[in-house]
């Protein structure tokens, strides 16, 4: 959570100072969700995520250098700079697909899970998506197929209350996305996505169920995005009081307080860890900025297996 939060701060600073230029969909406020889910996952488990997905990737273990160089459009990036922040892949840590299309993580997650099933493996797949995606056809097709085929997939809806600029209630016919699980005969959990322990309990149950071959689960984790849809959007369509309340309840800071109060860690230990994370992120940024851009010949590579003439 701390890594995600501090990485977000560094990213917004980079963009606002012009150190880096890219479209950025800040996940700040949603960090507890993938952080908790990932504690239930192995390296060979996989995720399919979306454009607001850097928190999901970091929680899955993507190396900072690969991520930042990709965000910088550099040849040393995870995808040689060819995908960018909205299309990061890093298969060795299980980050299989990042899509810029609402809803499209789910059909592909099913396929990854189908492969696991055919392999006879207990590998599981997490599909991350937002509340807006629960209204698109791909969501319904995917949950139905996953249920009929008992695929080892966990659908994690990060309900941040807004689909782009439109409020959840204005666009969604059910009070809870989790209720939609009933239509596909799978468990549906509605949890506080800002509480990592609550997310963990639901994720652990879902992952265990998937590993046993018992099929998919839908988890709706209620959360809030702090910085609007995309960096630079004025977010004046958002309820200011709701936003202020959410920011006052920063999930990372709340969990930090909890760790200290519970005697799990001391202020000094956490401060040291935070300083180390800041240094790692800064080193990754410097690595990215010092890296070369891809050669234009890359336009002819990876279009097909064979390089284009």
């Amino acid at each position: 959570m701390t890594l995600i939060s501090q990485n977000d701060t560094a990213t917004r600073r980079c963009l606002s100072t012009g150190r880096l230029v890219m479209p950025y969909y800040s996940p700040k406020g949603q960090e507890a969700i993938p952080a908790a889910v990932s504690t239930c996952l192995r390296t060979d488990d996989q995720i399919a995520t979306i454009y607001r997905g850097v928190h999901d990737m970091l929680a899955k273990g993507i190396p900072l250098n690969s991520l930042w160089a990709e965000q910088g459009g550099r040849a040393t990036g995870a995808c040689k700079g060819k995908g960018g922040p909205m299309h990061v892949s890093h298969p060795s840590t299980g980050v299989m697909v990042t899509t810029g299309i609402v809803g499209s993580s789910m059909p592909i997650a099913n396929g990854l899970a189908w492969a696991s099933q055919m392999d006879g493996s207990d590998r599981v797949v997490v599909a991350y998506f937002g509340d807006g995606a629960s209204n698109i056809g791909a969501f319904h097709e995917s949950l139905n197929l996953a249920s009929v085929w008992k695929l080892p997939v966990i659908f994690v809806c990060q309900n941040n209350r807004y689909g782009e600029h439109t409020r959840y209630e204005k666009a969604t016919a059910v009070a809870r996305v989790a209720d939609r699980a009933a239509a596909y005969t799978m468990p549906g959990h509605h949890v506080n996505g800002n509480d990592p322990l609550e997310v963990y309990v639901a994720a652990h149950e879902a992952v265990t169920r998937a590993r046993r071959g018992e099929g998919p689960t839908l988890i709706e984790a209620l959360t809030f995005r702090f910085y609007g849809h995309v960096m630079g959007d004025a977010d004046d369509y958002m309820d200011k009081a709701e936003k202020a309340a959410a920011m006052a309840n920063d999930p990372t800071l709340r969990f930090r307080e909890k760790l200290i109060a519970g005697g799990v860690a001391t202020e000094a230990q956490l401060a040291k860890m935070e300083a180390e994370i800041d240094a790692e992120v800064e080193a990754a940024i410097q690595h990215a900025l010092a890296s070369p851009y891809p050669d234009p010949i890359e336009l002819r590579r990876d279009v097909y297996a064979e390089e284009l003439a």
Partner: protein, 341 residues
């Protein structure tokens, strides 16, 4: 030729799938109604495969094209060679995001870390009164998308070889099957031979005019060429077989030889693949051609239902003959390239 063993497209596609599944346990099939309890496909292309290889490798799906193509993509990223049936070409419209934004682009967007070696099979073709949403040729959509390969077989022989080649190919392939000619008998292939993707076939040699075509219109072109021979016009027919990437070398060699080129396809002429081929030939051979390159294709219309309209819509032998005669006689009326002007 008449003594050669006869077969059909349906039989050869079935054999290609069976042989591929036999050769590689990673070859798996999914699609609507494809398993035997659901009759092995609505036209029987996959009949017997689930019984022979098990319903885990030949799996019927819900009617959910995004889910079908998405599942194919994900499994193929993990090393499976997935053949997804989308039944009808028009139904790809429902799965376009999965095909165009994902299957076609994941290799590039991941910098080559992942790939999507899938085949998406689909049938189409006017002539059976299936009208506006069951018969379109939409190959131009896919040929215009970087990352996809687009293949259309005109004969059972090519059907076998091209489908095997698509299954073996490391890139996503759109495999187009012309439904109205599914059961037209043709010579049996040598199943030990493969056909390379991107290689056209000169199905009839000639010296006066080159017709570049594929799928059903390649057969119509052959029939037209035979008739025109009686009039003293020698027509060379080039069956592209792979629409993208297409065989420029063979087409340009033929065009350089005959000096006259007609591109014929069933899809709507305007903005169709014929435009790309005509432009390429014109760019490469400007000044060496004996006439401007011509195109023939469907009018800018939906596929109509009424037999009278459907017949007028379809590019067939008589229209191809007329277009060739026009070409030889130097007629350049822009409208004569349309079936229905």
């Amino acid at each position: 030729m008449t003594d050669a063993p006869k077969t059909t497209m349906v039989q050869e596609l079935n054999a290609a799938l069976a042989d591929a599944m036999e050769a590689d346990p990673k070859v798996v099939l999914l699609g609507e109604d494809i398993a035997d309890p659901e009759k092995g496909g609505i036209t029987g292309v996959t009949r017997g495969l689930s019984t022979r290889f098990g319903d885990k490798r030949c799996r019927s799906t819900p009617i959910a094209e995004q889910a079908i193509v998405g599942a194919a993509i994900g499994a193929s990223m993990m090393g499976y060679k997935v053949v997804a049936e989308v039944m009808l070409m028009n139904f790809t419209a429902v799965a376009m995001d999965m095909i165009v934004n994902h299957a076609a682009k994941l290799r590039f967007m991941s910098g080559g870390q992942t790939s999507v070696p899938i085949v998406i099979r689909m049938m189409t073709g006017a002539g059976f009164g299936t009208a506006g949403q069951h018969a379109d040729y939409l190959e131009g959509w896919f040929a215009h998308t970087a990352g996809l390969k687009v293949v259309a077989a005109s004969s059972p022989e090519d059907g076998y070889g091209l489908l095997r080649a698509c299954i073996d190919d490391p890139d996503p392939c759109i495999f187009i099957e012309n439904m109205p000619t599914y059961r037209v008998p043709g010579p049996a292939p040598d199943r030990s031979k493969r056909i390379s993707l991107g290689k056209a076939r000169v199905t009839r040699p000639g010296t006066d005019v080159t017709i570049v075509s594929y799928a059903r219109t390649a057969l119509e072109s052959l029939a037209a060429a035979e008739a025109l021979e009686q009039e003293g016009i020698s027509v060379e027919v080039v069956d592209l077989r792979t629409i993208s990437p297409w065989d420029r070398e063979t087409v340009l060699a033929s065009a350089a030889k005959t000096g006259r080129v007609l591109v014929a396809h069933e899809s709507v002429r305007n903005f169709g693949p014929g435009g790309e081929i005509a432009a390429t030939v014109s760019e490469a051979l400007f000044g060496k051609l004996r006439a401007p390159v011509r195109r023939i294709g469907a009018p800018t219309s939906a596929v109509p239902f009424s037999k009278a309209l459907e017949t007028a819509y379809l590019v067939a032998k008589p229209q191809i003959e007329t277009a060739v005669r026009d070409l030889v006689q130097g007629k350049t009326d822009a409208k004569s390239g349309l079936v229905e002007a």
